[in-house]
Subunit: 355 residues, 2 copies
DNA sequence: ATGAAAGCGCTAACAT
DNA sequence: ATGTTAGCGCTTTCAT
């Protein structure tokens, strides 16, 4: 079977082929393509035509080898399930586009080995920068690798990694939510959130504790349920809470996925908010507002966070700001407490159990 | 300021440095690292140690140049707002990880120029494969470029691009929903969906029309509202529909984002489902089931679709299956109709307007 | 304004 | 089992 002569498929056309076709040297072609200052305008024209005609496609690897830098930016996240992750991806994608870079998305599932693998690949590709939500058990070698790449931490902050960060003020957020409930007269408030091995988990729990202390309210350890950030854990934890001898009259959720689970559990138990129990959700997916009677929530300024993170990374990637001059920036963004319909003053009779 | 001698930062250590350090040839190092069959085990050991000690990091571009292939797979989507996009990204990410490839995520906003830019960059990087939801106005040069890369189309299908595809059977889905409503006695059913310039938009509308024809029900053109796949369009369209002299008694939504908008509009108008009006949503985000009374919906087997798409791409990327032997595969996946609480038999009095 | 030539870091013959 | 050598396609001096 003879090869058809379509210009596009199997294009191994190089800069030399173009040069030969035009009877000029390949370095002239290179210059023309790069819009080099001292290049004949007419030559440029001819080169562009030849390029089109022959279907020449530059070889990124060759260029990357010469210039010792790649064209990508890495975004390393534990998962994509929450809205925040999606907003991050969108924002970084938009900025990459503007900068002519490619976004490499990596999902770790919080597995330190997978995390290492991604960072390594990015480093090998001479990635321009990395935005990462560090896994709790990040490997030393990963940290080391990261030190040689402009890095910005997002959401979680690793103790040993000396890179700027952007995170939510989870303590303030949960504190506000708890305070709100306390002021509403609730005394048995439960907190369902993430394990303290994640910095975010620890902070949010701290906010819960702090609010109780500050209001002189007694803290019942059995009302705190910590686990993985998954809907199912939230569901199970809330179910369990509802079956206690003295169930809580209010719920503060410490993660978006868990809020989903809480809703499932409540629905299954046939309980209503805020009639039977008050609820403060975490995060603010658009449907929270739609839910009747509207879910009271710890709202995250997602776009603001994403922009801040991307901005921090871009700054590091710009030649000027690098080196010794970079003062470490750690941005903490406050959540906005959104009072809607799922919280109300404590009822006389406690929440009834079952449907 | 003298440079500290940490092995990691500013690592320009090459394979030659490692060789020199060990007093051997650089090709031996290369072989050791590549686990070449005829290599002394002890040498391998020493090489690995030296690599660790010197902080050598392979240069992906150099390797890529030699082997004329990159390490990435592109996922090109119009947006990330819907759950399907997230599931796709997750699935592709998981498969890339297994294959040791990197996922490059590109968001086009359905802009043909941006789309071209992304495809071009991927082609230049010698990407291993691409999964794409083609924009309605895809440029010819984009199509041409795509022909030289293993490509799989997802969701939408471009007429001129000769690549396998996976898509939802939108016609079947909307047909089923409409039929359901028709059988419930509804005669004034509105359809709010995407413009017909997208293949998906055209198909879904076709399902709506087909159901009416098949059931001998009259089709009122004023009950069809087509526009961009955005929540706001859905909201506006439904509001408008509700203010008609003779408003519809049921709504079939042709896009997930629009369903969100419809819910907003209904809430704003103070109407209840299914009491005042019946509603069939599109897609099936997890909160549909939670919504009381549960949103009746055209459910998409998202994981199945994502797996099928990825599988199709992987097959093309494997040496064996390429070339003339590839019979074009177009997979059409049926939606699952989920009857929940927002649809009911038509009421005697039509939906009242306003709150 | 253009050509000639060197070399980026790696792999893969080809020797030995 | 290891060393030598030749490029991969490009950018970039250095000449001219």
């Amino acid at each position: 079977m003879r090869k058809t002569q379509l210009p596009s498929p199997a294009s191994n056309v190089t800069i030399k082929d173009v040069a030969e076709h035009l009877g000029i040297s390949h370095s002239t072609v290179s210059r023309a393509l790069a819009d080099h200052p001292y290049t004949n305008a007419q030559t440029k024209q001819r080169v562009r035509q030849a390029v089109d005609k022959l279907g020449y496609v530059p070889h990124a690897a060759a260029r990357g080898l010469r210039q010792d830098k790649g064209t990508m930016v890495g975004l390393i996240l534990p998962e994509l399930q929450n809205e925040m992750a999606v907003v991050m991806a969108q924002t970084v994608a938009a900025n990459c586009l503007k900068a002519g870079l490619q976004l490499v998305l990596a999902v770790t599932g919080d597995d330190p080995n997978i995390e290492y693998q991604h960072v390594k690949a990015l480093r090998e590709a001479r990635a321009r920068g990395i935005i990462i939500t560090a896994s709790p058990g990040m490997l030393d070698k990963t940290v080391e690798l990261l030190r040689s790449i402009p890095t910005t931490q997002f959401s979680r902050r690793h103790a040993l990694l000396n890179a700027p960060s952007v995170s939510i003020d989870g303590e303030q957020g949960v504190f506000g939510a708890t305070q709100h409930l306390l002021q509403l007269g609730h005394t048995r408030i439960a907190y369902v959130g993430m394990d303290v091995d994640k910095s975010t988990g620890a902070e949010r729990l701290a906010g819960f504790v702090k609010a109780h202390k500050q209001f002189g309210s007694r803290l019942d350890p059995t009302l705190q349920r910590l686990g993985p950030a998954m809907a199912d854990f939230g569901r199970a934890a809330v179910s369990d809470l509802l079956h206690m001898g003295k169930p809580p009259s209010a719920l503060v959720m410490g993660a978006g996925s868990m809020t989903m689970g809480a809703l499932m559990s409540l629905r299954q138990a046939g309980l209503e908010t805020p009639g039977d129990i008050s609820l403060v959700g975490f995060g603010d997916p658009s449907w929270y507002a739609l839910w009747s009677p509207g879910i009271t929530a710890i709202g995250l300024p997602m776009f603001e966070m994403a922009e801040a993170t991307t901005g921090l990374l871009m700054r590091q990637m710009t030649p000027g700001a690098q080196g010794e001059s970079k003062s470490m920036t750690h941005i903490k963004i406050e959540s906005r407490f959104l009072v809607r319909g799922t919280t109300a003053p404590v009822q006389k009779r406690s929440a009834r159990r079952r449907a």
